[in-house]
């Protein structure tokens, strides 16, 4: 009985603390972005599954995704073919076995929207995201979902939404849905050792 009482007391004593753990400061976009911006370098494996109406089976790509502050994102596809995509500043460079192509990030508003959904989120640039997207944030800091809907009419013609899922400062999933029903789901795994 005494044991039970002690247990109960200690349990009661724990309550405020546990409450603080379960409900941290209210989750908002600036706070999340602040957290993301603290990470200056990332390098992870990824798997991307593209489900397209034109194709009878999904395309599955894998490789590595890396980010270097402030504005460099690299996507290195290693399977089923080799492709190296580098975005730095305003330049997008795409290298394949057929050669290297360079285009401006701004050459199409859809390309800009798609790139910034990932780059600005990793960099924690809330202003850039706000300019391009209507933003909705759900969940907790431990388990959040950021839903982006394009504001630009030209981008909205092709793109329905980009949903980013994360845990703390880790981005774990990017789900891109196009207007025609095509979908691309990128899962970001453990860091490259």
């Amino acid at each position: 009985m005494v044991h039970l009482l002690i247990m109960l007391c200690s349990l009661v004593a724990w309550i405020p603390y546990a409450g603080a753990q379960a409900a941290p400061s209210p989750l908002d976009v600036p706070a999340l972005m602040e957290l993301m911006s603290k990470v200056s370098k990332r390098d992870n494996h990824f798997t991307e599954t593209k489900t397209l109406a034109m194709l009878t089976r999904p395309l599955v790509l894998s490789g590595t995704l890396s980010y270097v502050r402030p504005n460099r994102v690299e996507k290195h596809v290693t399977s089923p073919y080799i492709e190296h995509l580098v975005v730095e500043g305003d330049q997008l460079t795409l290298s394949t076995k057929d050669g290297t192509k360079r285009i401006a990030v701004d050459s199409h508003s859809l390309i800009r929207s798609l790139i910034e959904a990932i780059r600005a989120s990793l960099a924690g640039q809330v202003a850039v995201l706000r300019r391009l997207y209507h933003i909705k944030l759900d969940g907790t800091l431990r388990n959040w979902t950021l839903t982006l809907r394009p504001l630009d009419a030209q981008a909205a013609e092709y793109l329905q939404s980009v949903t980013l899922t994360g845990q703390g400062d880790r981005l774990i999933k990017v789900d891109i849905r196009e207007t025609g029903g095509d979908r691309s789901l990128m899962e970001i795994h453990e860091p490259v050792s």
């Binding site: 109406a53 492709e83 199409h108």
Partner: protein, 773 residues
């Protein structure tokens, strides 16, 4: 008014009215090419055509700056939209990809005739397989969402291939979806006016529309609009010249009027002084209009300068009046000299009148008729309209020492010859630097405006074209075939870094022969369908996805050839119409060359490898040649004029020594002026040349009056008053022009003012000594 003068006055009034009648309905053009020689060779004709009708002459470059990039991009879109709504522009581009829908559709429709990738192997099983694998990879990339739209119809990627062929030069950078300067601080647009570049009124309207669109684009107040391009330059320089010439004319007018008033102390002689020059100008302009059917703006400007010496005619008459005598009596004394003064100018103009160059012969007609009429008005109308007794001009207003000082100048002859020798030696040493052959220097555009133009052009990846390759042929087809065979050559030269890029007419419109070859490479439906099925084996494309591809190939295989009109109404049509020119029965294709390292090195390659039917054109040196031709002809005619004037002087004076005394001062003055201009580094343009002709006219008049036989000391002093008045009037009128910042006005003012002063000085030094009767 005397009864005898009645018919003359009546005739004068009739002349005034009929001239005014012609002038009211005259056609004034500012088109520079109207002045160019008609007998120009083929290359020059092409150049003239480019200057006149070329797309380059119709472009207005628009820059927006001093606001944040988002706002600038938004304003760029709004300006493009509102300019497109006016009927003034053929196209307005700001780089927005949405604006290229028409072009994309046209290229898509004709892709199998336009693409240089179309060969039989391209549509074989292995060719298709490689293309499909590439498309699959593209689908997975970030560009996939955009690329997949075209995929079912164009799995072999012809559209992308055609577009990459156009991109032989650097593209302007994009920011927020529109063109921006490299640093991202200035949004850029290119507008092509419907009206040609020389139609300055329409260009003014276009510029005004751009300003209005900018004002309502919602940019903050401190944002700036920058405009550049040939039409903008032409409009701005016209405005600047008008502004400056009005201001300076006003200053000169006030000064000359004040001068005349000081001498005559009465309004009547002042008004009488203006009659000859005004009548002369009206009659001269009317004569040009009647003979040519149009008057060029430059003829008007220069013509007014050329007959400027007519302002002096009444002065020679009115200052010679002896107290109490009638003007008729004065005239009998002065007329022989005045007549010779007028006739020398008329003869000088006669030589120009015979020129084959429209511009020069218009000037000749204007000067010939203008000076002749001004002389006749001085002889017949001024005395008829003058009051019976004109108050004598008080020659006492000149300091009495003035005459002696002027007379004493003759002791300086030794010095005069020394200076002449030095001048000639200087000119001999620097004879290569005397002439200015650069057409661009004639333009009154400031160097900062030129710099801005260069900057905007380089940001837009459209530098001013200086080098051109011209493909000749008897038909459009022949020119297009030449264009196709030049393509590999040009690509090799690009690889060898002789140039960085080029444009070819056949990129936009292949020859019929090439279209036939490409069409023959397209397989019939059954064959294609079988190859495609085999190529798709193992790839995840949905069955039936490529039906549009099969349909489009069949359509291209059995459809019509592509014609030039099929490109209308797109930017591609404009492009190809600028690059393909028909002149008479000849056709020419233009190949603008960009980033040429060395013109002469490339010219060597073209002569050794280019084959026949190809001409290399350096627009800058061609323009120089054109100006040279113009100048050489005017020089030759001036020489002819001087010979005629010498003959005239001989028949009037009958004294070879006297002819020398009259002819030498203006010629020496011209030598001195040219020497000074060369020494201060100002090269001689056509404007200087015309001004020198006026110096010749004015100088001859000075020398003629200086060398008149004087009856007494009083007459001598009266003549000095005439000459003093004339030189002061000339110096105030042209001296004012010399202070203008506009090269044209400055050149005229400086040359004439200096030349007149030197003429008078030389005439005084070389003049007859003492009083003769």
């Amino acid at each position: 008014m005397t009864v005898r003068a009645g018919p003359a006055v009546l005739l004068w009034i009739l002349l005034l009215f009929s001239s005014a009648g012609v002038i009211v309905n005259m056609t004034v053009t500012t088109d520079l090419t109207a002045l160019l020689p008609r007998s120009a060779d083929e290359t020059q004709e092409l150049l003239v055509r480019q200057l006149r009708d070329g797309v380059a002459a119709r472009l207005i470059l628009i820059g927006l700056e001093n606001a944040d990039a988002e706002n600038l991009a938004e304003a760029s879109r709004s300006i493009a939209r509102s300019l497109n709504e006016t009927s003034l522009f053929r196209s307005v581009s700001n780089g927005d990809p949405a604006d290229y829908t028409t072009e994309r559709e046209i290229l898509m429709r004709h892709r199998y005739l336009l693409s240089s990738a179309v060969t039989p192997e391209h549509f074989s099983t292995s060719g298709l397989r490689a293309a499909l694998e590439q498309q699959l990879q593209l689908l997975a990339s970030p560009a996939g969402a955009v690329a997949k739209v075209a995929l079912p119809g164009d799995p072999t990627g012809e559209l992308a291939h055609i577009a990459s062929g156009f991109a032989t030069t650097s593209h302007p950078s994009l920011l927020n979806g529109v063109w921006f300067s490299r640093e991202g601080t200035r949004a850029l647009l290119v507008a092509e006016t419907r009206a040609p570049g020389f139609d300055l009124d329409k260009q003014t309207a276009a510029i005004h529309a751009a300003r209005t669109a900018f004002a309502s684009s919602g940019l903050p107040e401190n944002a700036r609009l920058l405009l550049s391009g040939p039409g903008v330059f032409a409009v701005e320089s016209r405005a600047a010249i008008q502004r400056d010439s009005w201001r300076l004319s006003l200053i000169a007018g006030v000064m000359v009027t004040a001068l005349l008033f000081i001498v005559y102390r009465s309004v009547t002689p002042l008004l009488l002084s203006l009659l000859p020059v005004i009548t002369g100008l009206l009659a001269g302009v009317a004569a040009v209009q009647l003979l040519f059917g149009f008057v060029h703006g430059i003829t008007l400007g220069f013509g007014a300068t050329l007959i400027g010496e007519a302002v002096d005619y009444p002065a020679y008459l009115l200052t010679q009046v002896i107290a109490g005598e009638r003007l008729q009596q004065t005239l009998t004394r002065v007329w022989p000299t005045l007549r010779l003064a007028i006739l020398t100018t008329v003869f000088g103009a006669l030589s120009m009148l015979l020129s084959s160059i429209t511009g020069l012969s218009q000037l000749g007609v204007l000067a010939f008729v203008g000076v002749l009429v001004a002389g006749l008005v001085t002889r017949w109308i001024v005395p008829a309209l003058a009051p019976q007794i004109v108050r004598a001009a008080p020659h006492q207003i000149l300091p009495s020492l003035w005459g002696e000082r002027l007379g004493a100048l003759s002791r300086m002859r030794g010095l005069l010859w020394l200076i002449t020798l030095l001048s000639l030696a200087t000119l001999g040493v620097r004879h290569q630097n005397i002439w200015d052959n650069d057409l661009a220097n004639l333009s009154p555009i400031s160097s900062s405006a030129k710099l801005l133009d260069e900057q905007m052009r380089s940001d837009l990846g459209a530098p001013d074209v200086r080098y051109l390759l011209v493909l000749h042929g008897a038909s459009q087809e022949e020119v297009l075939q030449r264009s196709e065979s030049a393509a590999p050559l040009l690509r090799r030269w690009v690889e060898n870094e002789l140039l960085t890029g080029f444009d070819l007419p056949s990129l936009y419109l292949p020859s019929k022969e090439m279209q036939r070859i490409r069409r023959a490479a397209l397989p019939p439906p059954a064959v294609l369908s079988a190859s495609l099925t085999e190529a798709l084996n193992g790839l995840p494309f949905r069955p039936g996805l490529f039906e549009p591809f099969l349909r489009d190939i069949e359509q291209a295989r059995t459809g019509a050839f592509m014609e030039m009109v099929d490109l209308d109404p797109s930017a591609l049509f404009q492009k190809v119409s600028a690059l393909l020119i028909q002149s008479g029965r000849e056709w020419a294709g233009l190949v603008p060359l960009r980033g040429v390292k060395s013109g002469s090195a490339l010219a060597d390659h073209i002569t050794s490898e280019g084959g026949s039917g190809l001409t290399f054109l350096d627009l800058k040196s061609e323009a120089g040649r054109l100006v040279n031709g113009y100048r050489n002809e005017s020089l030759r005619l001036t020489m002819l004029g001087i010979v005629a004037i010498t003959g005239l002087l001989w028949s009037g004076l009958r004294d070879m020594a006297l002819v020398g005394r009259v002819l030498l001062p203006p010629l020496l003055a011209i030598v001195y002026v040219v020497t000074i201009l060369t020494l201060i580094g100002e090269q001689l343009s056509l404007f200087h040349l015309v001004s020198l002709l006026l110096v010749l006219g004015i100088g001859l008049n000075y020398a003629l009056f200086f060398n008149r036989p004087f009856a007494d000391e009083d007459e001598r002093r009266r003549t000095w008053l005439s000459l003093t008045l004339c030189i002061c009037a000339t110096l105030s009128a042209f001296g004012a022009l010399a202070f203008s910042h506009i090269p044209v006005l400055h050149a005229i003012g400086f040359t004439v003012g200096l030349g007149a002063a030197f003429s008078l000085l030389a005439a005084a030094i070389l003049g007859r000594e003492g009083v003769t009767s």
